[in-house]
Symmetry: C2
Subunit: 147 residues, 2 copies
Amino acid sequence: MPYYWEDFEQGQVFELGSRSLSEDEMIAFARDWDPQFFHIDPKAAQDGPFGGLVASGWQTAALWGRMFVDGVLSQAESMGGDGITDLRFFEPTRPGMRLHGRITVVETKASSKRPDVGTVIGDAQLTSDAGTTVMRLRIRVYFRRRP
Amino acid sequence: MPYYWEDFEQGQVFELGSRSLSEDEMIAFARDWDPQFFHIDPKAAQDGPFGGLVASGWQTAALWGRMFVDGVLSQAESMGGDGITDLRFFEPTRPGMRLHGRITVVETKASSKRPDVGTVIGDAQLTSDAGTTVMRLRIRVYFRRRP
């Protein structure tokens, strides 16, 4: 029984579980996509702007994305997203730091052009064990309407 | 001779070269970060919302990020970014599609709190061979000021 557009409503909160990244996972990702010294070289990173190795921001965002796929999109008639606004990193992601994912529905809109499609806008968060906000973003995703 | 904050000015354009993603690269990335069927299963993707396999949006964004590291940040006294606004995907990234990267400086600001740091806000684009805009985002990066 997948989620259709009709199953989302303003104010709904999805808790997406938690996950952390190891130093090796950070380095492997950053070698491909963000090879700055503070993402790939633990020793040099100690004297860098974050005082240690931190995850690429692209990886932190994608980690939330993976939680969103596992927790929502994989059980939904999703047609993908087309953008993100207000992606902010409030603190860097460090090796082993546990991140808790969440998305809150802030708006749902039927498409004026396609009667079979609706939009959901969500406010996403990653928080630390201490409850501080590590990352926030707003995402728009298209879902099929219930046939 | 790295770039410091003083070396960036409004209107400056950096052409970041071009790159494409193979189907295998798309599937490998999406298995880790965005395992939706239209990112990991070429056959099923044919009947999906994009009529074929397309790259995860996180990967398209990170591909631009890699071009930015290679073309600018690796030669700069960068202290990392803290956010992105207005990330928009105008068309999906398909296997083998060549993407051309660019960033235009839209604003530079000295930090009011830290005399050794300045901010650069850039408008980033990926365009196709045909010149259409595939992705656009606005990014804020911190750079050291010239000592």
